[in-house]
Point group: C2
């Protein structure tokens, strides 16, 4: 059962009525592809966050850009909110109909439209998931590196500026989306860029849309960069006597400019949960899970240097995952850490944090927050894309226990305050959504949020595009 | 002497009056740091483009963010345009006071504010130039790779989304600016980001400002990424029997994912100009000027692979620039290609093109455009950041010869039309400025430009921030 919305969000909540005339118009246009069945609406009215709100009034299953444009235009005629929906893996309440309205499900828009292997680009519909994409481009010898924990859609990943374990080498959606097709609030279809690798042609609408969380438009097509599969890949696990030792090793890796592809911290609690969930036998100590990409010699050089750095901090000899199967098993276990944690405490939900700090501040930020979490007595998991200075605590709470929730929220507040004081951000990759609006204000100051509001008002004068997210108006 | 503004721009020109009361207020606030001397105004009223306009009514020499904020606020009280000025190296008329107004010269804001070597970041004032920056961070073992031809300021480079020869490996200003401080149209000072490497915190105001050409605010502080100086660097020159052979080699380098740091095409005409200007004796054939960064082994591997690819297309054995001095000499010659070309025809100006296409289309786009340029009889230079699909023709015209100008403009139009038909962009790194507004419309369609206009109106309701650039309102 989901918990009620946190109190500080209540002023933003204004359930707008969805007139029957709109529902009738949608049913007329979309027939059985417009559903008002409660089970369908409820499925589209929740995500992986701990927030809850009444479900949307209807769900439209779009199969084309024109479908999306028509749904937005009809909703606009009645000033009714529209909320894009991919596969529902948001961690920040992005999908919740906090001001009512209709959900536009783009999961059927799941075709890979154009693979251009010679240019290292691919254009997809927004409902294509990251795993599906990598499956479909397998034969080209290329891959798409961005990998949030869930098998999210490319549309959703663009909308939340997602990243994952490969970002330390390959960047985030910010660096990897080349161009978008977007349906605007007026139902117009625009293109934000070309397939050229660079451009200085006017305002960077692509990057304005990437991370706008559905509040400026619905993404209907995504062109992203691909990368040649490295000639050699090797993954290694290294255990450390302390979190600090693992973090200090990571800092040195980055400062030396080692082009490491992945460097993930997993704390001892989480290794234990992962072992239980994925039937692994990893040493239950703080560990770094690493991957090296390059030529065979290059990979060897990187690994030797990193092993040397790790040994200097008491790290063990690397344990290698040398076959693709072993590698997949390890990384799948890492990606399932969230679910492993959730299952470790039946009925719990996770309050996930997402701070990111400059790497020189990472040890301070992490260690103080670990001490606070330990002192609270609340079970937690801790994983980190530590090469980027980004890490996630997940406080495992009973959603019906107000005291636990308050304690977890307090931990998150302290963590964010600490990250901001260390020149970091409240969210590295999950987005603002419902729960971090106040954090965004603290982070940027009111002037920047006022600028965001001015842009929102200009591009969506009726405030129908996923309203009530990122900021209040 | 500068040529008159091209005819198609005339409708956008509306010289607004600058009231004496504003000049008096600026003189009162800035004393001798506000100049109305004609020579100073004229120096701030031109750039490296072939456009001309009456000079600004006054020039304010800002020494702090507060100076900029005060100047903008005063100008706003009289609805008078403000135009930021760094060192005046724009190629697209960005600095021209086409609607009158005052120039805000930030070249005295030239301090490096914070070097954070452990985080690979640096924060500078906008008047710091790229060479100055690299000089000041020399002792850290880090470098800043973005290198437009001119020794431009970081503020100007941010405002035009500049790049250069290293972009193929290190990206452009789009990928390398972490955060900005900006004075908005209302004179408010905002911060667009933190020093965290990743962020999903609200709209990406950093990247909205990067490339906005002064039309949304004045950049007063820039935080950029730095990179560890590679352990090994080697530069090589390789001559080819044809431009096509050089381009096909480049395409293979990129498609194989070789992490080449620089790969620049210089055509035979331009090699001749560069030899004359920089007293070099390069073989006067189409050539690639390349640089490899990495570990000593890594560099060797890359170079061997690229040599093999080049040989397959008739490329000569690489000639190596092995000492830092030889490398600097070569790259300085490359950076001075523009000036070498200008000096090859006394009194001429260059109409510079800046198209960028997906690399699979590069050979087609380039070769047809070379044929057209040859047929026109207009002397030209041709250099290209070909690893990115970006290249520049410079048509060398007598600015007083209307026929030559028309012929050069026609060549540029044909080139842009070709690039757009090949899924490319009209500008890879110079920006839209005055001369490419129609191209931007063709490239993006009206919907995207309307979105840009809506953002501009929302953030600058009086249209005082560098008006008349990128689009007409």
């Amino acid at each position: 059962m989901n918990a009620p919305l946190p109190k500080h969000l209540l002023p933003g909540i204004l359930q707008r009525e969805t007139p029957q005339a709109l529902i009738a118009a949608l049913k007329n246009r979309f027939a059985e592809r417009c559903s008002t069945a409660l089970v369908v609406r409820e499925q589209h009215g929740r995500d992986e966050s701990s927030f809850a709100a009444p479900p949307p009034a209807a769900v439209v299953f779009a199969e084309s850009t024109q479908d999306v444009a028509d749904a937005v235009r009809l909703a606009g005629q009645y000033s009714v909110p529209v909320i894009p929906f991919g596969v529902g893996t948001s961690l920040e309440g992005h999908l919740l109909a906090v001001q009512g309205g209709i959900s536009i499900d783009v999961s059927r828009m799941n075709r890979v439209l154009a693979i251009n292997p010679e240019d290292l680009t691919v254009t997809v519909q927004p409902g294509v998931t990251r795993r599906q994409l990598n499956e479909e481009i397998k034969s080209t010898g290329l891959f798409f590196p961005i990998d949030p924990g869930a098998d999210a859609t490319l549309g959703g990943m663009s909308a939340t500026r997602a990243s994952g374990t490969n970002a330390v080498r390959y960047g985030t959606m910010r660096e990897n989306v080349l161009a978008l097709e977007v349906v605007t609030a007026s139902g117009e279809i625009i293109r934000t860029g070309t397939r050229a690798k660079k451009s200085a042609a006017g305002y960077d609408l692509t990057r304005l849309m990437v991370g706008s969380e559905g509040t400026l438009g619905v993404i209907t097509e995504v062109t992203v960069k691909l990368y040649p599969l490295p000639e050699a890949i090797s993954a290694a696990v290294c255990s450390f006597p302390s979190i600090e030792a693992a973090v200090r090793t990571t800092i040195e890796i980055i400062q030396l400019g080692v082009p490491i592809a992945r460097v993930e911290l997993i704390d001892a609690h989480t290794v234990r949960m992962v072992n239980a969930h994925s039937r692994l036998a990893l040493r239950e100590e703080p560990m770094l899970l690493m991957e090296f990409h390059g030529t065979p010699n290059g990979v060897k050089e990187q690994a030797e240097l990193v092993q040397e750095l790790a040994s200097g901090h008491g790290g063990n000899a690397f344990e290698w995952a040398s076959t693709p199967e072993e590698r997949t098993r390890l990384w799948t276990a890492r990606h399932n850490a969230y679910f492993a944690a959730i299952q470790s405490k039946p009925g719990c939900r996770a309050i996930s944090t997402d701070t990111c700090v400059p790497i020189s501040r990472l040890a301070d930020c992490l260690l103080e927050s670990v001490a606070e979490a330990e002192a609270s007595g609340i079970p937690y998991f801790l994983v980190g894309h530590v090469g980027d200075g980004n890490f996630h605590f997940g406080y495992l709470i009973d959603p019906d226990n107000a005291q636990e929730r308050d304690a977890a929220e307090a931990l998150n507040h302290q963590l964010v305050a600490r990250a901001l004081s260390l020149e970091g951000t409240c969210t590295g990759e999950h987005g603002i959504g419902l729960g971090k609006m106040d954090f965004l204000l603290s982070e940027t100051g009111g002037g920047a949020v006022d600028m965001m509001r001015a842009i929102k008002r200009a591009l969506d004068p009726q405030n129908i595009m996923n309203p009530g997210k990122i900021f209040t108006l």
